[in-house]
């Protein structure tokens, strides 16, 4: 099966990984000699970890390059060519839900919120609320590509809604909500789902992959922010009612 390309360009991948980790390494080494002066055996251990990270990152990027990009683009181009294009919207709903529901970061956040709220917000509620929110926004993102809606028409009202809710939310809810923007933008969304979106935008006539294909990640990042702020407001309203 020599036609399967697995290790092509691995040298290039390694170079870019080393270049990526170099600034952090240089920064640490300078500080190590000038200020930190940690024991040598400890530093050697750290360097072993860095080596592991370099190999892992190279393997990850290579897998994305040979597997996720071509398959995502092919799927996108096939899906973009189907006649019933509205089908892409429920397809986005499914992809968005699946990509988020399994994400470990979302589950960790769920447990943190359950703990911080003294158990009044259950972990599963958080996981399903965020997965549902992301699913909705990926579906919106697909509708945007199919019908050629500019990204700003969705993202600006979304941000304005978030800013409006800032006024009514607790400081802690705000911090958690905005930090959570990243929980759903895991490796599957950034690599695979984005490649599908770019492929779809390339296949539909009159759509530009740069203008219409990108933007999906920002929608996936916006969804948990809104979801958690809404959850926070609901919780607060409930507490108020109890006090009365």
């Amino acid at each position: 099966m020599s036609w399967i390309m697995v290790w092509g360009g691995i040298g290039h991948t390694f170079l870019s990984v080393i270049r990526a980790l170099l600034p952090l390494l240089v920064l640490f080494i300078i500080f190590q000699f000038l200020v930190l002066k940690l024991p040598r055996s400890y530093v050697l251990n750290l360097l072993k970890g860095v080596l592991l990270a370099i190999v892992g990152l190279a393997l990850f990027l290579q897998g994305v390059g040979i597997g996720f990009f071509p398959a995502g683009q092919y799927m996108g181009e096939t899906l973009g060519a189907i006649r019933a294009q509205w089908l892409l919207v429920p397809f986005g709903l499914m992809m968005g839900f699946l990509a988020t529901w399994g994400e470990p970061a979302v589950r960790i956040l769920g447990s943190q919120i359950e703990e911080a709220s003294g158990g009044s917000v259950r972990k599963n509620v958080v996981v399903y609320a965020i997965s549902g929110g992301v699913a909705l926004f990926v579906a919106l993102g697909m509708a945007r590509i199919v019908y050629g809606i500019p990204l700003l028409w969705i993202i600006i009202p979304g941000y304005l809604l978030a800013i409006a809710m800032l006024r009514f939310s607790d400081k802690r809810v705000i911090a958690i909500a905005f930090d959570a923007g990243g929980v759903a933008t895991g490796p599957m969304v950034v690599t695979f789902v984005l490649a599908i979106a770019v492929g779809i935008a390339a296949a539909i006539e009159g759509r530009d992959p740069i203008l219409d294909g990108f933007g999906l990640i920002s929608l996936v990042a916006l969804a948990p922010i809104l979801t958690i702020m809404v959850l926070g407001l609901i919780l607060r309203a409930r507490l108020r009612r109890k006090e009365k």
Binding site: L24, F31, G65, I66, Y74, F178, A221
Partner: protein, 220 residues
Amino acid sequence: MLSAILPLVLAVVILQFAVIRMPSQVFLQFIIGAAMVIGGMVLFLSGVEIGILPMGKALGAELPRRNSLLLVIGIAFMVGFAATVAEPDVIVLTRQVDEVSRGAIAENVLIYAIALGVGLFVTMAMLRILLNINIAYLLAAGYAIIIVLAFFAPPEFVPVAFDSGGVTTGPMAVPIILSLGLGFSSVLAGRSAMSDGFGLIGLASIGPVIAVMILGMVLS
């Protein structure tokens, strides 16, 4: 890691046999690639745990010990910058942008613009903890700037700019930036690590959006 990737891989396998039918070469490479992604992530994350996080913590713990504001600002900026350059999500996004735009928005330029944005906003977040500014004001101001800039930046940069804000919050940058902030606020008197240390990531993901939009305005 497995649970993050498996549901979608299964969905793709089902779709492959039901509707899509990609050429078997593409499909096989997808399966092999998925295994490499999972294995690579496991190795990478343990490497971050063993080697890179302790480095970030060692640097962060140094911050409050020197009583110099300039040093705090300098280190926060450099750590934010260095962590972003090494962030896998950032590398993957910039690569796709480079490819799709056929080099018009080059990978390297975009990475450094994103890293500059994160560095500047991590620095601002540190100053916020120091000066005890309410985070809601900074968030509102940051997003207001983004909304205004979105109307002036060249349209082909806008979606990429918004996506840049989403990818900085990956497995590399988040733990490093968080440990920096938590370490910093825990030593300052009268600050709670809980409500002051958090919010850092939220602020850090505003920076790249602004930076990439400005990059677009400068380039055109």
